[in-house]
Amino acid sequence: MSDQRLFVAALFDPEAPCPAGLTAWNGSDPARRFAVYRNNVVVSLIDALADTFPVTLELVGEEFFRAMAGVFMRAAPPGSVLLAEYGAGFPAFIERFEPARSVPYLADVARLELLRVRAFHAADADPISPARIARALADPERLPALRATCHPSLGVLRSDYAVVSLWAAHQGHGDLAQVDPFVPESALIVRVGLDVQVLALPPGGDTLVASLADGLPLGQAAALALAAREDFDLTAHLALLLRMGALTALVQPTEA
């Protein structure tokens, strides 16, 4: 009934014949001409994934990546016209993808890359002002109950693998051969100005930032971080977050 449904089915299945009713002025086989569309769709969507996941691609090589992305793309073509959003399901797909099992950290590296793209396009927000912090400090008894609003670009990734070191080694920082991928690492991803930054968070630090991002009160987030790691340096982590502009507001529970 739907011509476009048949057209789409043939775009995604290379075994399918060219849709009926296509013609060429010279009577040549329209399949060859239809292949231009098939190529454009398939290649451009795989290219979009390659743009979003460049380190994932480097880790497994172009040939493996493009073939893997092709399997994903056929199972899950974009559900949005905005290609910047495409690939949200790719890390979970990689995790279940048998041929990639020899690279167990691949899915988490892809998660880190996805968080970077999200951070890049996330909404703008001004960092919390020193005056607002000073006001909060003037009333220390109420401080533990305050909730921090994180910058819209902020993401935390807790991994069983050395995601930050693996990723950084592909940016020319550190020797990949010296990275032990099986050391757990947590990543903080946040846009500072126009640059997306990736930082390794030590144990405790990841707990603090993830708790703040989940909307827990300051006191509870700090206590959880200290419980995770007894020599956790709360001051240094708060200073880091403030310096990066990663916190945008302090909110009283009643204001929330």
Binding site: P14, V81, F182, V192, V198, D233, A236, L238
Partner: protein, 102 residues
């Protein structure tokens, strides 16, 4: 600072002290160490456009490229350079797997 905060029962005073000190520290210019950790502008491009792909009529349509039942690729990228304590060779163990038929 951190020494005074080893208790998991965090007092309001300790939190205020940490936040106050953090405020002072964060006003200082970023140190060289921070610059090193900073990671690189994102060379992100706009992914939506209205051009045809640079490939030809053949690219992307080869039957072997994307059919799961004929999966023939193994990872051959920089993962081969990563250390793998679980591997007898000390490096990433690469092996082809047959894809399960969906």
């Amino acid at each position: 600072m951190s020494k005074s905060l080893t208790s998991t029962a965090l007092s309001a005073t300790a939190l205020a002290l940490a936040l106050g000190t953090a405020l002072t520290l964060s006003a200082a210019p970023a140190s060289a160490a921070d610059d090193k950790e900073k990671c690189y502008g994102v060379a992100m491009k706009g992914k939506n456009d209205c051009a045809a792909g640079p490939g030809t009529t053949c690219a992307g349509t080869s039957k072997t490229d994307h059919q799961g039942n004929a999966w023939k690729y193994v990872p051959k990228g920089s993962c081969e350079k990563t250390a793998s304590p679980t591997s007898p060779t000390g490096f990433g163990q690469l092996a082809a797997f047959k894809e399960k038929k969906a």
